[in-house]
Symmetry: D2
């Protein structure tokens, strides 16, 4: 690795943009090795409980620490054998007495080790993403409540239309985030599942108590027992990728709305600026929506990697290295980037600047055409009202010229049921949150 990581996402300069400390620690080489050792330890304990491994050996295996291994030797043996885990197993002979070493990794295969470890790593990822997503939800609910009645132009096709409130916009974001929390809750038991099966997945080398050994092995690690091996049944992996792609899609949607509404020509929202941050050297007046922008960047990369996982569902027979090795890269990538996005969304929203004055000013610069249409419709009927408005516009006139004095007086920005919908969403989500807090 002379010269540092070849992946910019792991570089000294930029790693912070493409990973969070907790998720990096899980997927980093030391974390992965320790995770593998923990899986080996759980296996030995499970086997010890069923008498196929002596207790002291299991205990010794359980005391293995990645820091005690010579990583360079592990790597060299891995390259020499061309085998994914044999390098590690060989080097364990350096630190274990022979009678213990022969009890390591009995009846298991590479995929048992790596799939099970991945499930434990996923737990950290899901915990972190879930926590940050709940925080995002909380911040959005606060915005929804605070700006329940803050008038803003709704925009469709990039064009300001009828009024909304900013709180209502925040509530639609929160509502979407809540559905992701639901998905994460529903999917979690499917995803956090162990794998133990040996060469082709039949547990043939685990002795007569094999099913019990597997159950114990999974329980030791806090994972669900799979019932049956899932070596090429990769729907779990594809699903977690799809859900995290959706999560980052939502965060990118929020980011993009901030990005657009931060245009100085609009000026309704502004990202917080970190002290010391410099937007542009050459154009120092600029205030770039760095985080908003990055949320979109992250979502693009997560989608692409989640697509790899989806494609990988079509594996052959009892193991297919073509798709499975692609997972080795794509799934951690999905996790690292999704956790980054969730953390960045929290930072974006914690100090998001809302310019209610600009919102109001932009809105007033528009004609509230939908309301005018409603007023005219009451008098002329729907289709005649439309025709009149269109004729008026074509003639360069203002809507208000078509209205009676009474009607004109009613021409106040009307956000319809925006506030009531905010109340609905806030009540429902807060109830869900309270139930979670109590759980």
């Amino acid at each position: 690795m002379t010269g540092g990581s070849a992946r910019i996402a792991d570089s000294a300069m930029y790693a912070h943009l493409w990973g969070t400390p907790a998720v990096r620690a899980v997927f980093a080489e030391q974390g992965r090795l320790q995770g593998w050792l923990d899986v080996l330890a759980a296996l030995a304990r499970a086997q010890a409980a069923h008498g196929t491994v002596p207790d002291p050996a299991a205990e010794r295996i359980g005391a293995l620490r990645a820091a005690d291994l010579d990583l360079e030797r592990v790597a060299a043996e891995t390259r020499a054998t061309g085998h994914s885990t044999l390098g590690l197993i060989r080097v364990l002979a350096d630190v274990l007495p022979p009678e213990v070493h022969r009890q390591v990794y009995v009846g298991a295969t590479v995929q048992d080790l790596t799939d099970t470890w991945t499930s434990t790593a996923l737990r950290t990822v899901l915990d972190e993403v879930g926590r940050d997503l709940r925080r995002v939800e909380e911040l959005l609910l606060d915005l929804a409540v605070e700006h329940r009645d803050t008038l803003q132009a709704g925009r469709t096709h990039g064009q300001p239309g009828a009024p909304i409130t900013f709180g209502w916009k925040a509530a639609t974001w929160a509502d979407e985030v809540r559905r992701h929390l639901d998905r994460l809750r529903e999917g979690r038991p499917r995803w956090l599942t162990g794998q133990l099966g040996g060469g082709v997945g039949t547990l043939a080398a685990q002795g007569p108590d094999a099913l019990l050994v597997r159950a114990r092995f999974c329980a030791e690690l806090g994972l669900a027992d799979p019932g049956i091996s899932w070596l090429t049944a990769r729907d779990r992996v594809a699903e977690v990728g799809a859900v995290l792609a959706m999560v980052t899609g939502t965060l990118a949607r929020i980011g993009n709305d901030v990005y657009e509404l931060q245009r100085p020509e609009i000026g309704e929202l502004r990202e917080p600026t970190a002290p010391g941050a410099v937007g542009s050297i050459t154009m120092p007046h600029k205030r770039n929506p760095e985080r908003s922008e990055h949320l979109d960047t992250l979502a693009r990369l997560v989608r692409a990697n989640a697509g790899v996982l989806m494609e990988g569902m079509v594996g052959a027979h009892e193991r297919d290295g073509r798709s499975w090795k692609a997972e080795w890269v794509a799934l951690p990538e999905v996790c690292l980037l999704s956790a980054t996005a969730a953390a960045m969304a929290v930072a974006l929203l914690e100090d998001l600047e809302v310019d209610a004055g600009a919102m109001r000013a932009n809105l007033e610069a528009l004609v509230s055409s939908e309301q005018a249409l409603t007023l005219l419709t009451g008098r002329l009927g729907k289709h005649e009202a439309q025709a009149a408005l269109q004729a008026s516009l074509a003639a360069g006139q203002r809507f208000s010229d078509l209205l009676t004095a009474d009607e004109a007086a009613q021409l106040q920005p009307d956000p319809g049921q925006a506030g009531a919908m905010v109340d609905l969403v806030v009540a429902r989500l807060r109830t869900a949150r309270t139930a979670e807090d109590d759980a």
Copy 2:
């Protein structure tokens, strides 16, 4: 449309490969128009219930039939206005009295109409896919039970390894299908949701009872009330795409296993052949795995279109035609192709030919190396056993030469816990099915 559809998937010759009758009917132009009219009728009824539309008008609107409309005029007006629904609304004036016509589509917008209709269309799709997927599960459980103990070579990296049973393989397929049935059940209430909000989604033109009108509107159509508008909150759409992509991924996995195991050099499985079917004109002896192959084709296209839906989550503001119009194409495509895949999987599995003799013969042609390793490990320890086997292989010897007579006698193909895992899966899935049947 002179000259027929420009999409081969809708051609007279090949449409049967890319759609099922029921799903085609839903998305076909007549079906879509009728679906839209049903949505307009539900809206009028909901408004009538709250006094904003006269009952007789609602009744008349409820009697609209797509077959009574001049489709060519609708199309011409659509092109002339460049507006997605105005063509239809204008042509409705031909068949409705003016006082009724002005009560049509009040306070709603294109997206209310099309999103709500899509949810009703999705119901048919989910019903069909769910039904066929349950049938797939049933057929797989039958195979799992029948072939619980039918020995077969497990294959990893394309290479035969240790024994499995074919029933065990079928059980891993069934287990994956069951998880999809779980996902379809969990997602359904999220997906079958109405949309009503008017121009920017605030219900501003629905009067003081707007929330009740929306609730009634959704209930009329058997859809869930969304709580808040989801015009650019497209997670529902992205999720249904992802789940159907996963479903077709699993069916493609099954198809690919059949495709490979139908190679005459392997000959363990064979697709049923329809009477009259011709595989190859130029090579008439060939028996092509047409359905298996097509399952993979369909999964590729579903994945690609589901990717469009995922990308579409990042929409701007309160409506974004860029992503939304892409949904107009991609979501029906996902639905049509997924339903086709589910139906084709049923046809594939209903008469799948399982050649237990070939499975056994292929297996015996292999050395049961994993079991040999286990035997040796018991005597020599794990790492010594591996070394001995590798040395033996390198020297061109047979495993059995390393074994004692007693050990050699034990060298029978041992599928480990395959049968027990089949029993676990069958029990669990049959319980789930019974619960569903009772529901």
Copy 3:
């Protein structure tokens, strides 16, 4: 096909948004059948030239017209045999004498027919896309020249920065379009290539003159001779998909810039509005950027389908229906949508409204910070100048307060070398165009 096409892209109401007449005609069922008959005719003529088919038979085959065939019977036979072309071949027996019928389609296979036809269809597509793209280039060059010096704010990260000119922006678009024209020119001979090989591609059933028959066959159709069969060498198909995805990507980029600059808060560009067009029923004042938006929609779908073609490169052995049948859907889709995008870009640009006044006003509302920085740098050095500007901004001061009177006088919007770069691009592209016109 009761009820109309199940694909909205082929519906009476919306087909115009997802295809052009010429490309639709090529891929429509009649067009495809006629194309296939033309390929069969070319084959018979080539065989006649080498004596393996009697001349009169070749002549009779050359007179076949799709309109004379009973399409419903072709379709019924296709479904009954499950074979892609046997239905057609059987129905040809209705219109050909037996001695001619037996001379049809000799020694060829489905893929010979369909791949070769696809190449002829691609020619129409490339002609149409190339023509429209040249027109786009021309319109962009006109804009570049006309607005060579029309000042506009450059925008990075969504934030107005230093000045550009609108002509310079148009020139960057034109420059990118020209690279696509280069790619289309370079790729064309690779793509417009015939296929003839029989069952596995070896020409085994074409007699001793097989290579000459193939050469003649390709020449008859104006296609290149492939040298060797390319049944699973699908790089040609993947490449044409990638290039058209790039083409639509550029057009979407132009569309998106228009979309954003048409926001009324910015108001620098506006799409032409077709007479009679209605943007929004409920918000009649709105002027939606329909075409700009649709360019992005089309690019999304083209990308997804081009991805299917890219994935399809990894086919197995001598034919792989899994990837090849996916091409049947994805390649025409890429073509139909790309041609639509090119035509729509022409329409967008032909009457694009450029509001030079708004451009200027937006620009003046900004501080020309880059120039201020340059001025200060000359006096203070680069890093001190930056520090001073940042301190000034932090203190809420204006740039100009930091400048001397002389410096302030220089603070005019300076688009740098924008005009000179326009001249470079215009000269280079016009030269290329003239060379093409002469060719």
Copy 4:
């Protein structure tokens, strides 16, 4: 970076599977920093040549070495400022006298630096991929020549059909590889292009000789002058991604054919095994097609990342960080993985084991049905011959029963024009290679 890289592709244990030394060196942090310094040096030299930077300053800047910089400080400043290059610029003040430091990076922007550096990095990548691809072509031509007449079953839809020769298969691979070499040659001048424009791309801060400075700057680095800035004109980047995705697609196709033909049930090809390599611990008899498999894995990941680049073409205005930062990750990934694939393909093919005996045996186990059909067609006509064959098959008879004795004698495996096509391809490709060698 405590704990090692969080990307497995950069881990000590597995990095060799996801990068080559040369390409890793280019993209590694030290390589990138040095590359950036080289770009800054070229800029200073170009400016010195036009008098805007003093010669000694340019010389001093040209002597900057990444190894002399405190990377941790650069990283800390990068994080503190949130700016992509300001950290580096600040730290340069540690090693440069103030009067030189102020001459660094004048009038340029982050994207000038990074895009230009990327083009220089691409040169290394294209050199390496091109070299290895030429070696692949050479190896394939050798196989084509050696096995010009080695009979093998052609396989379509996974089913053995008529005969080919293995040399012919190798020639189709070589032919496809040659087209990639053509594409790489055509695209190279488009891709290896510099970028210099300052804040929005207008060269506003480069003085009156700006265009000459840019030309000199590009020439210093051996890159083409772009004519006009291409900050959001990312077709170059998308194209290089697409071409490398195609390259890896072809290599994956070769790998997949080896993977399938290495199945012991087929046994026609075998990967070379590295000495010391261990396929499976638990199933030691297995010989896994590790490289073949990995070629497919790499292609999947390259495709996904190339898709990110394609999507990134739709950037906004004069710079769009959303798409551009995604390039930062995706483009190096495409490069690293493509170079790995090319190197791995060389290793795979250098010692590929071809089992001509197994090929022949598999072929003879089949009936040469295509040839039988041809013989019968000569006697009965095409359609009657087909009917007779099908009836015969349906009755469980053999083809040969339908043939006369003379015909049966002719029933030898006939690979048609396979050998002649090999000759065509070999001649054409060798000519191209000679021309390249002379160039």
